[in-house]
Symmetry: C2
Subunit: 148 residues, 2 copies
Amino acid sequence: MFSKSTEYALRATIFIARNSSADTKVSIQSIAEGIGAPKPFIAKILQQLSNKQNQVISSTPGPSGGFFITKEKRSKPIYIVIEAMGDSTIIENCVLGLPNCSDAAPCSMHKVYKNIRKDLLSMFKDRTIDEIAKSKDRLIPTDFSCKE
Amino acid sequence: MFSKSTEYALRATIFIARNSSADTKVSIQSIAEGIGAPKPFIAKILQQLSNKQNQVISSTPGPSGGFFITKEKRSKPIYIVIEAMGDSTIIENCVLGLPNCSDAAPCSMHKVYKNIRKDLLSMFKDRTIDEIAKSKDRLIPTDFSCKE
DNA sequence: AATATTAAAGATAATTTTATCCTTAATTTT
DNA sequence: AAAATTAAGGATAAAATTATCTTTAATATT
């Protein structure tokens, strides 16, 4: 559904919410391992999530530095992650890709999609980061090479 | 939501369903104009929709040739268009991009997404091409350069 | 202050998606 | 059969996405 970048961004944000606090920050290394993403790529994504405009997550350099998420951001909807990644159009736009698709000037699938989009949007806008983080369900591909 | 290719494919298929019959075929030219897509690009997509494996739409070359859709295919779900374009993973896969995400080994968003995915899938699997085609709603971007 | 540790930033590369163009093949009409 | 019309197929190009690497900057510890 989303781009790879946004998938990683969502997983990383949830991981950070679970594993960081005011005094415990998490490194790029442990995030990369924790969500099963290539380290240099997730580094770029974390940068984007923490830059001036976005500030979904925070970071400090230096020893015992790393990434964390503030109490304020934890209570925001996970939608802010999707927005920061520039992928909100995926759930907002017309299924057929028409600009200006609306009730007034609907595309041929508008009627059947309308309510599903509403549900999709509310899924991301009504659930906070902390809410999703507390579930403890998977963020990383299962390792089938080790099953017995 | 889908790739540009799949958006064009859906629009083209609906357009062909509306504008073709046993004896009236539609040309690449008129399809491109009818859905507002670049002609060489939609040509490639029509090829993919009509090739040996897919056969969502049919075609004949030569004068008064063009594209059409059989009665049999008209009654199939629009899902076959998405499948032919190789984009079905978009609505089938895990939101967080985890392979093997399931009720048994759920990702952190599985529970909240599960039912929405079910609705998405049924939207594409329970509606036939003809059903969508009969609506007569838009398939082409509105032309605001000409409004008065 | 020096050193070690960590993220930030920028350059680069590989891959995929989107788009275009040109030649060939098939079919119909004359 | 010849000519005209249409799609098929293959090659190419442009843009976006995904991924990597190297250098720099910031911070904490000693």
